[in-house]
Amino acid sequence: MYKYDQYDQAMVDTRVAEFRDQVNRRLEGHITEDQFKPLRLQNGLYLQLHAYMLRVAVPYGTLSSAQMHMLADIADKYDRGYGHFTTRQNIQYNWIRLEDAPDILADLATVEMHAIQTSGNCIRNISSDQYAGAAADEVIDPRPYAELLRQWSSFHPEFLALPRKFKIAVIASDTDRAAMKLHDIGIRMVRNDAGEIGTQFYVGGGMGRTPMIAPLIRDFVPLDQFVTYSEACLRVYNRHGRRDNKYKARIKILVHELGAEEYKRQVEEEFAHLQGQGIEPPLAELERIKACFQDPAFEAGAPDEVDASDPDFVLWTDRNCHPHKQPGYISATISLKPVGGIPGDASADQMRLMADLAKEYSFDECRVTHAQNIVLPHVRKADLYTLWRKLDEAGLGTPNLDRIGDIIACPGLDYCSLANARSIPVAQKISERFAAQEKQDALGELKLKISGCINACGHHHAGHIGILGVDRKGVENYQLLLGGCEGEDTSLGKITGPGFDEDGIVDAVEKAADVYLREKQEGERFLDTYRRIGIDPFKEALYG
């Protein structure tokens, strides 16, 4: 894991002092709420329906055991004993007092954490593959590159008042587990024909009310130029992104309106200019960062077999574990989606348990996934059964990764001031409707994603089944979308037709699932069947 040096520590400590001063000036009335708003937002502090919400950054989703313990302590000390893991690998607390926010940031700084730029119109937390550094299929661990970008983007003086928020994801395998092409910039680490590592830039993707899949802008940027290339991408956006309409201000609209070719031309021109400006850190800095991400001390020759005598354990292993690059090891996902639960929520006690298990079984490391689960990346297969027993006893052994119960949902109208409809109760009802194991088994991989408004924090465009909550004449109404996918074969879901009420949408999901079960051919996932037969048979079942 990355370790702060004196400079990194000074940066977060300074931010705590700065924010404390800003909060004091606000509480004393020296600055207006309008002036304070962008300041607090760049520290992840939103004013929600009932209280302030604080979003804490988890850079590229990686947490140490000590950091997870601190998140639990903050939940107990300043919130109501729980936190909510988000689709950008962060954590949010929903019941924060403004006066406490500086103290929370100070506590976070003691474990090398912060809330810098977790909201506001700036470059947000850099996200990545939850199996980074562990996955059997990756070209290289993408996190050092994400860390270099984290430092570059933190307090970048030119990019603190962008037209709109800006999200970057960095991955390093053909399989996309981070929805890379649905980011403002998606970077994929690749190896070229000469065997050199470099970066592919996809620019202008996003969800929200106008979902777009990012086009490829450059297929190979050498490692000693990719910060400069990022800066060129951002400068073109900062200068020319639309500022007349908040809903057209994301970079996807700029790239779409200019066309990918013209945007690329402008970026290349800016890039050629910026290469003479000395803004690229030396490769030695990348090497320094990479040294923090060396493999843990894996045991050579660790047994590669898993004890298969307990069927419940076998089920969980099949569902929730992912192949590791090191023989004898595996990555295990802890589902935060128990039947009837709130997707992504964890209590302080659960966080402490996960922290302790990470320390004991995963080289002191865990990960937050964009699907709002937690991963223990480096588990010895010989320890897997013991680990599962401990998880299962604590109610954290739900075997539903990428199944219909593994729902992504935004906080919705229960918390969020932007929402039009509640998301959580819908997620709970669907999860209960499909609770039976046989049902989930029959449906196989089925990613269901719920947003409580058009801003799409619940990624409904990218769900095999997506649900969008809208307000129809003061009543919550839910639209159904089919066919979205956030993976390497990214696609956007299509709305089936008129929306449903809260119970109606649960029935509609079941009807869509039944169409799949009726029509599926050997080896097909829900998404494959949908792509083969199209939307009409589903429409007929829903509205016919």
Binding site: D5, Q35, F155, P157, E158, R235
Partner: protein
Amino acid sequence: MVERTLRFRDDEPVSDPAVTVDSFADQSNASAVRLEPGDDARALIPYLDRIGLVEVNFPAFTDGRGYSAARILREAGYAGELRAVGDVLVDQLSAMRRCGFDSFAPDHPFSSDDAQAALARWPEFYQAAADDRTPIWAKRHA
């Protein structure tokens, strides 16, 4: 004591009124120009020799185009005064200095205490920018 313009230069301020970018090209004696957010700072590059003051207007503090304009001018070698005017807040002072601004005429003047505190706040910076501060990565590999 609150001063309307906060200035980090020793030379004599340009007293000419700043003209718009459009009219600047036609007025060969003008030495001060005012950039609006939609103006292309690069349009001034052919004339940098005769410019003593560029005012960059921030109609709203949330519009960050002026930060890029400032850096572009400094990157092109502009050494004259670069003044941020309009809705400029004290919490932006540090970033604006880094982008090359060396004077400030905010609509609502900030107290000199607040300005000094804002400028003294940050001991280090991660990036290279238009000022002469050494980025952290350079210190790490000095």
